[in-house]
Structure formats: structure tokens, C-alpha cells
């Protein structure tokens, strides 16, 4: 098991290196750079000399392989550099936003699990009853409805209900404060985007739980459990649920990793300063350093999430061995 963990962690490095190569060279394929953007972006006249000074300062004029080597060497020594756009250290720029995005992703995942597993299970048990139809409609709505739209609905709903109940319209706070500094403030801010994304996210997981559960309920060992005279709720909880969670865990893992960098629109709707927004900004600003850092971060999260999923697999299914 320890060996397995070690092996998985070592695998992280070639994966990161591959990602590094891709993002580094792809970014530089796009014509233009941060200096040109800054000076020529307005369309006004600009000094060629000034442009060169700017590029020299940021090291953009050095041979590309040297730049790449610097990039890799920096990461190997935990020196992630500065943002090319704001000039502030990358770590400083990312830390708070990472916290926010991670927290939204975790809360959305919890929301999704809390919705998906009970609903998917009930839907399977009550297959082809109105409960099943209800659950399926609910989850199809989750897939069909863009989460930004749901986000807007939630905000409008909050405004309207607080206005009519308390007399004053209330909006969730906008300035991020970490959970441990001010939990109530933090949660009242992030619960809404978490619910908006968690609902959509739950839709896929609900359908997965339902179909896995339906399949498991037809298995011979469930018939054996029935032949033993066990109560139906024990058969579901003990015999069927654990077996049907395997595919669900995979879906949840993939979605979780995706949420870490992919919540661009939802962040926009709720006015959150998260990784998604930073990602878009860094690409449009030609902020190579920032884009690289974000890609590496998301890749690391992907790999680690996969690792956690694998460990969960082993816990759910004793037939799986780690080697």
C-alpha cells in the first residue's frame, strides 16, 4: 500500500512535466505577448524601444528553450515567479483564489453527494413510479439548466424573499474571507454558488447512482440477501449501496477536478474572485507565468483527485489490490 502511494505520487512528476511542455509552447503559439498588449492594446502609437525594454525585463526575448528551462528550474525549486501582468508573486495571487475555488468545489461536491445518492437510490428502488419520474425530471432539469442561470435565479430569489420577509433585500457578501476567520460570513457567501453548481453536478451522479443501483439490485447476491430474510433497508444499505457507489465515485472525482478550474461563468454570476476568473484573465492578458501556474495546479489537482478516487475504490471493493 505504501509502495502504491509512493508510486502514484512519483507518477505526478511526468504528468506535470507533460502538462508543462504543452502549456508552455501552446501559450507562445498565440501571436502577441503581455508587453505588446499593454502598449499597443489601446491602438495608440507606442515606442519600439519601450516595448523591447518591457520584453527584456520579463525575459521574453531570450531563446525559447532557455525560457522553458528557467520555467522548469523555477518549479523544481518551488520558485513560481511573478505574474507578468500585475508583477505580484504568483503564489500570492493564487492562494486566496485557490482557497475560494477549492471550498466551492468541496461544498458543491458535498451538495451533489447529498442530493445524488439518496435520490438515485430511491429512484431505483421505486423504479417506474411517480417518485422515480419525479427524480428523473429533477435531474434532467439539472443537466438542462445552465448553472449560471440557476445562479441568477438563486440571487433573484434571495433578493425577492428577503425583501418580502424582512423588508430589506439581502445579497450574499462579495469580499472573500476564509472559512476559519469568519465561518458564518464565509458560508453565507459560498453556499449559493456551491448549491448552483452542486445541483447540476448532482444530476449526472443521480442518474449514475440510479442505474448502478438498478443493476446491483438484479445481482445474485441481492437475491441471496433477500433469501436470508433480511430487511429491505438493510439489503439496500449494506448489500447494494456499497456495490453501486463504484461508478458514482468516478463521476464525482472527475467533476470535482473539473470544478477547480472550470467555474468561469458561475464565478462571474456570483461575483467570486476564483481560479476560473483568474484563468480567463491570465490567458487574455498573455500572462504566461500565471497561465502556466494555473494549468500546473489544475493538473496536480486532477492527479491527486484520481488518486483519492483509486483509494476509495479499494475501500469500497476489496477485490481491488494496489500494486
Amino acid at each position: 500500500m505504501y509502495q502504491y502511494v509512493l508510486k502514484r505520487l512519483l507518477l505526478l512528476f511526468p504528468t506535470l512535466l507533460g502538462a508543462a511542455v504543452l502549456v508552455f509552447f501552446l501559450m507562445r503559439l498565440i501571436p502577441g505577448d503581455v508587453c505588446e498588449l499593454r502598449m499597443a492594446g489601446t491602438g495608440a502609437y507606442f515606442d519600439k524601444e519601450a516595448l523591447k525594454i518591457c520584453q527584456d525585463e520579463l525575459g521574453l526575448n531570450r531563446p525559447i528553450l532557455v525560457q522553458f528551462w528557467e520555467f522548469i528550474r523555477g518549479y523544481a525549486t518551488f520558485n513560481f515567479g511573478d505574474s507578468m501582468y500585475t508583477g505580484r508573486p504568483i503564489v500570492e495571487e493564487i492562494v486566496l483564489r485557490f482557497q475560494l475555488s477549492l471550498q466551492v468545489a468541496i461544498m458543491a461536491t458535498i451538495t451533489a453527494i447529498l442530493i445524488a445518492i439518496p435520490l438515485g437510490t430511491i429512484s431505483a428502488i421505486k423504479q417506474n413510479t411517480w417518485i422515480d419520474y419525479g427524480v428523473r425530471a429533477f435531474s434532467i432539469a439539472g443537466i438542462a439548466m445552465p448553472s449560471f442561470w440557476l445562479g441568477i435565479l438563486i440571487i433573484l430569489g434571495l433578493l425577492i424573499t428577503t425583501k418580502s420577509w424582512f423588508g430589506a433585500a439581502w445579497m450574499p457578501p462579495i469580499q472573500y474571507r476564509p472559512l476559519w476567520e469568519d465561518p458564518v460570513y464565509n458560508l453565507t457567501m459560498l453556499i449559493w454558488p456551491a448549491v448552483a453548481t452542486g445541483y447540476r453536478y448532482s444530476a449526472v451522479a443521480t442518474r449514475m447512482t440510479r442505474s448502478a443501483m438498478l443493476e446491483v439490485l438484479r445481482e445474485d447476491y441481492v437475491r441471496t440477501a433477500r433469501a436470508k430474510g433480511l430487511l429491505e433497508k438493510i439489503i439496500i444499505r449494506r448489500h447494494a449501496l456499497k456495490n453501486s457507489l463504484l461508478p458514482v465515485v468516478t463521476v464525482i472525482g472527475i467533476e470535482f477536478a473539473f470544478l477547480m478550474g472550470g467555474l468561469v461563468v458561475t464565478e462571474q454570476v456570483f461575483n467570486l474572485n476564483g481560479l476560473g476568473k483568474l484563468f480567463v484573465e491570465s490567458v487574455t492578458n498573455f500572462d504566461y507565468n500565471m497561465t502556466q501556474a494555473l494549468v500546473m495546479l489544475v493538473v496536480a489537482v486532477f492527479v491527486l483527485t484520481n488518486f483519492v478516487v483509486d483509494v476509495l475504490y479499494g475501500w469500497l471493493d476489496p477485490r481491488i489490490h494496489y500494486r
Binding site: 445474485d220 441471496t224 433477500r226 436470508k228 430474510g229 433480511l230 430487511l231 448489500h239 471493493d317 476489496p318
Partner: protein, 332 residues
């Protein structure tokens, strides 16, 4: 001996897109206390459905018991509530299934799968249940039972798993065990071991056994009485010895020709039963074996033959029983 189980005109059907499948079409038989009764027939003739119907484990949809009674120790299981039925399953009647590889839950330990049953029905503590499980595993001939409790099904071979299933079936001291082709999925060498084990244990513990098989050879050695099933109906019944030596239904005769016999010279050739079993959605009022029958006469088309006595305790559902028996006499 008193009658333990009385299956009375049991009918179970499946609603499918192809029509109504009359999987079990009015079967009646009984089982005495401590007796071993075999149900024999080709694959698809309704043996499993008949067994699952006794336990009320037919999944609805698509299947349903539509008529008849299953009297077990005097009470009709078909009429019990779900809660009452749960007290019968696993407690009064144990079941062993055909597929040892899939009948145990892969993600739960052997120990848990036995003790949960014991605790549920007998209301004992975990320690007492563990003790019982160890005792049971020893009883079915599994080595190092204590260690096995913590193992998962994939650690055991098919034969071992079937032993675990037998331990499970015996765990709450049932009156009856239903074994649905318990050895069909196993290696030939292991088949005999498992059958011996079941025979020995049920005799010793005084448990009645319904053993379902498609192999008449098995029957002769292990059963007291035999019911031969064809297309959802019982077509012949008698003591195992009588069925084996004086088959009175053309189908039983054909089945016997399809298995190697110890009491006849090796060279006698084996004939699989010719033709296909009928489509259970399209049965007419005549004898369902007719398309495959060497003995059929015109009357066989008009009426399904009732079970008639051919000897004391021996009945067969065929109009031409006399000719079948005579032909057998000539042959042997």
C-alpha cells in the same frame, strides 16, 4: 413422517413483450420432514421459478404467482405478509443457489454475511454469532474457519463458496433447504463432494432438502423421491429407484438415455433429448411433449394428460404409459 411442505397447484407467470410465460403451470408436490426430494428437468422448464416461488422471491415485474398454495408447516406462504415471509426466509427455509461465484456479496466478508443472518433471526450478540459462524464453517468442511470469517468471497474457490452458501442456508437451523442446481457451476470432481456434504448434513440434522438438477444421475444417488418437470408441469413422480428403473413417461425415458448409467454397460450410447423444449408463451391444450415424443397418438393433441398412477407412489402424465413401460422391459 409428517408432511413439511405441500405445493398445491402453484402457478407462476411472467409478463413479457412476447406474451405470458407460464413458467410454472400448476405444479403440485410435497416434501416430508427430513426427506430429500429432487426436481429434475431440462434447462428452462421452470425449476428455478418453482423454487423461487416457494420463497416468494419472484421479482415483480415481470413475474407473479397467480394461483395455488404453498403450505409450509400448515401455513400458506403465498398468503403471508412480507414481514411474516421474512421470518420464513433464511430462518425456516434456507436456500442454496446455482452460481457460487455471484451469490455472495463481493464487498462484504464471509463472516458478516453469515453473522448478519444469524443475528437477524436469532437475535444473538455479535460474539455469539461469530461463534456460530465458526461452528458452521467447520461443519461444512472449511479449514481455519476463524481466519475465513475475515476473508472476502474472492479469496475462496467456487466449491468453497458453495460450502459457505450451505453454511448460510443451515445457519438458523431451518426445516427445509432448497438447493437450486447447487453443483451445476462446479468442477465434476467437486460436484460429488458438495452433494455428499449436503446429503450428509441434511440427514444428520434432520433437514428436508429439495434439490433441483437437470442430471438424473444425481437424483438416483441422493434423492428419496423425484419430480420430473417439463414445460412448467410435473410429468412424472415417484421414488428415485422407481423413476430410475421404471420410467413411465417418454420424457423421463429420454432424460435417462442422456446420462451415463452405472447399472448399464458403458457402450450404451447417450442420446441427448431430441428437439427443443416448447415456447412457454405458446402452449396449447394438448400434451406439451408431443413434438418430441416417439409415442404420441392422436389423442395427445386434444388434451393434456393428467398424472395417473402407474404403481403405488408412482404417477406419470402420459396417455401411453403402458407402451413406454413395455418398451423399457423389452429393451432391458
Amino acid at each position: 413422517m409428517a408432511t413439511l411442505l405441500e405445493v398445491d397447484n402453484l402457478q407462476t407467470q411472467f409478463l413479457t413483450s412476447a406474451g405470458i410465460v407460464k413458467a410454472v403451470d400448476g405444479i403440485s408436490y410435497d416434501v416430508e420432514e427430513g426427506e430429500t426430494v429432487a426436481i429434475v428437468g431440462e434447462s428452462g422448464c421452470g425449476k428455478s421459478v418453482g423454487a423461487l416461488s416457494i420463497m416468494r422471491l419472484i421479482p415483480w415485474p415481470p413475474g407473479r404467482i397467480i394461483g395455488g398454495a404453498v403450505r409450509f408447516q400448515g401455513k400458506d406462504l403465498v398468503k403471508l405478509s412480507d414481514a411474516e415471509m421474512r421470518h420464513v426466509r433464511g430462518k425456516e427455509i434456507g436456500m442454496v443457489f446455482q452460481e457460487p461465484m455471484t451469490s455472495l456479496n463481493p464487498v462484504l466478508t464471509i463472516g458478516l454475511q453469515i453473522t448478519e443472518t444469524v443475528r437477524h433471526h436469532l437475535g444473538v450478540t455479535q460474539e455469539e454469532a461469530d461463534k456460530r459462524a465458526i461452528e458452521l464453517l467447520g461443519l461444512v468442511g472449511i479449514s481455519e474457519p476463524e481466519r475465513r470469517l475475515k476473508q472476502y468471497p474472492h479469496h475462496l474457490s467456487g466449491g468453497m463458496r458453495q460450502r459457505v452458501m450451505i453454511a448460510l442456508a443451515l445457519s438458523c437451523e431451518p426445516k427445509l433447504i432448497i438447493a437450486d442446481e447447487p453443483t451445476t457451476a462446479l468442477d465434476v470432481t467437486i460436484q460429488a463432494q458438495i452433494l455428499e456434504l449436503m446429503k450428509g448434513l441434511t440427514r444428520r440434522l434432520g433437514v428436508a432438502l429439495i434439490v433441483i438438477t437437470h442430471n438424473l444421475g444425481v437424483v438416483a444417488r441422493y434423492a428419496d423421491r423425484v419430480n420430473v418437470m417439463y414445460a412448467g408441469k410435473i410429468v412424472e413422480r415417484g421414488r428415485a429407484h422407481d423413476i430410475y428403473h421404471r420410467p413411465s413417461h417418454p420424457y423421463t425415458l429420454a432424460l435417462l438415455k442422456s446420462v451415463p448409467r452405472m447399472d448399464q454397460p458403458r457402450k450404451a450410447k447417450l442420446d441427448p433429448v431430441e428437439g427443443q423444449p416448447p415456447d412457454l408463451t405458446r402452449l396449447d391444450e394438448g400434451c406439451s411433449f408431443r413434438p418430441r415424443c416417439r409415442f404420441k397418438v392422436e389423442h395427445c393433441e386434444r388434451e393434456f394428460p393428467p398424472l395417473n398412477s402407474v404403481a403405488p407412489g408412482h404417477v406419470a402424465a402420459c396417455f401411453e404409459t403402458a407402451r413406454v413401460v413395455r418398451l423399457e422391459k423389452v429393451a432391458s
